[in-house]
Symmetry: C2
Subunit: 394 residues, 2 copies
Amino acid sequence: MPDSDNTVSTSSNAASGRLAVPPVACPGDSLAQVATPSLVLDLDAFDANVMRMASAAAARGVAVRPHAKAHKCVTIARAQMAAGAVGICCQKLTEAIPFVNAGIGSIHISNEFVGEARVALAVAMASRVSLSVCVDDVRQVAPLGKAAQRAGVRIAVLPEVDVGQGRCGVDSTDAVGELIDAIDHYEGLRFGGLQAYHGSAQHVDGWDARRDTARLAADRAAAYVRFLAARGIACPVVTGGGTGTAEFDIESGVYTEIQPGSYVFLDGHYGSLEWRDDWRFRHGLFLASTVMSTARAGLIVCDAGLKSVATDSGLPRFWSSQQAGQPYYRTASDEHGVLELASPDEDGAPWLGEPILLVPGHCDPTVNLYDRYVAVRHGRVEALWPIEARGLSQ
Amino acid sequence: MPDSDNTVSTSSNAASGRLAVPPVACPGDSLAQVATPSLVLDLDAFDANVMRMASAAAARGVAVRPHAKAHKCVTIARAQMAAGAVGICCQKLTEAIPFVNAGIGSIHISNEFVGEARVALAVAMASRVSLSVCVDDVRQVAPLGKAAQRAGVRIAVLPEVDVGQGRCGVDSTDAVGELIDAIDHYEGLRFGGLQAYHGSAQHVDGWDARRDTARLAADRAAAYVRFLAARGIACPVVTGGGTGTAEFDIESGVYTEIQPGSYVFLDGHYGSLEWRDDWRFRHGLFLASTVMSTARAGLIVCDAGLKSVATDSGLPRFWSSQQAGQPYYRTASDEHGVLELASPDEDGAPWLGEPILLVPGHCDPTVNLYDRYVAVRHGRVEALWPIEARGLSQ
């Protein structure tokens, strides 16, 4: 959207001019001045989260390759690289384009893809960055191999093995062997290791149960590594793991690399899980919203609904330092959020116009609704960080 | 995102150049050539839906003011205006900006708003178009009245009355009277009628129950009109109603204007309701997706997940002319959709790379994920229609 011209003319002389979309915030603004709904990033929490993951993995000699699908933002990727990340993951090829253009030198597409256009894009990327991709079918290998060879590039290809998710990935050593044979057939490809991600393991609530699920995933990955070793094939990388299982994955002795994404934000769902020691990351991502109607006793209505927050992993939560007596976000419609007050008789009138903060249930699809983060430190806007890969799902 | 440069260079000579995001489609492409996931609009269905609503309302002398929050697209608004719409609704002020700039002459903000920045934007709009807005608190009236007076513009203000939704809107004649008194206090404002929208009535499944709910809403609105008449106040407009209740609202004798949005698309949720006669609109909005993994027996995995479709009103549905034996969309993760095949033993391998169409459960927040419609007629891409108001929720 055109937002480079930040003025909204209110003079009737300018009535024939185009109206510009006002900026959501300017550096130096207070939180209360931010246009709502907006996506707010608490920089102190963000910095602490980035460092926490980086130092924990470094202490065990495990590489961090953060997942950019969570943040879709070049500024965040650069902060992760500065903290020692070996590169980033992207989930789709177009999602990677802004990061390629920004000079992030190592990108792993942690997902399968098919079709000529995507193969052409992958090859174009491989001429610019160190690119790795995933496969779980020999029919994905041949077109990529031919195109890479024609273009004179080399792409690292990682067979995806199913370690418990039951979604993508092969689930037999025979199938992994076939994929490696197919990869070896092309000069433009090389076997890059194994993709062994267990998505649903990330979201297991109890700490013990999550540890056990993560261990099972690591055991399954280890079995594939042993199979390859028995065939004389070194497995340079075993990559997987996310925010929920990182603490187990880095201790596993199996994963050489982890792919956490949400840890930079800690969304409402992850915040609801059981954590131990200092593995609970800090809530860093918020929705700034405004109460715009208080006509009903016991309710307040804010301006953040389904177009401002993803609800697949639960409704957003009112953010407050106080635990009790706070409004409860009950219903989302397209552009309204209805919050219940502590008592059904309470008069909501004092809330009209009040700015509030909400914690989104699920960060990834929420971030994908916005064009920028309002980066805030100590209640003041420090910068606007563009979400360059917003909407790039092809 | 920069997509004006449509080339993806695959030559290594150009390795230092920026990678452009490939276009999702070009006019003349077949449906199978469209990059996925994409939002596809079937123009025959769209045209029929626009005409159906326009002619039904015209036959009863009721104005149509379609809700642009459903489509967020100037091209669609123009098609609705060409079919006789008196103007459009928007749900947020920034959402209206592209329509103001495109010359849509009459815009109703069917929602409350607060704050200086929004008041300034409303006044700037009122110098360009015929603007009406909603209020449900006298504290929303004064700032608008003062700003309008200073700028020498006049804004029509419609008190919102709660006709059953229990969200925004006042629910007493006294409160309506107070709002009108407040409006009359400012030269820059005029009483524009009543906003009487019942959102949840739209989604009542059974036809009889939906009719009864709509009648109750109309009865409530009528009581306010009678109250005003008894005070000698003419109510120029009673506006409300949507896709689900339009057939009842235009027969009510109460509504002078309806605000339907989803009818141009008919999403999966609306498609699941009971309809009578020819009031079932045609499915016009689809997600083009591709099967990118078939590693599990009984399952296929497509590339359309939570970032490509809103799931608040149900998961997307596989679209096929056949009723039985089709894949069933079972689980959405960020960038994956898992579909079950008819039998858990069925080999999904033949599906790899196949293009599929899905019907989204809820059109409004799904549209808000995309930058353009791929407008298709008879299986060929006719045009790309920008979604100018995508993301404009402030």
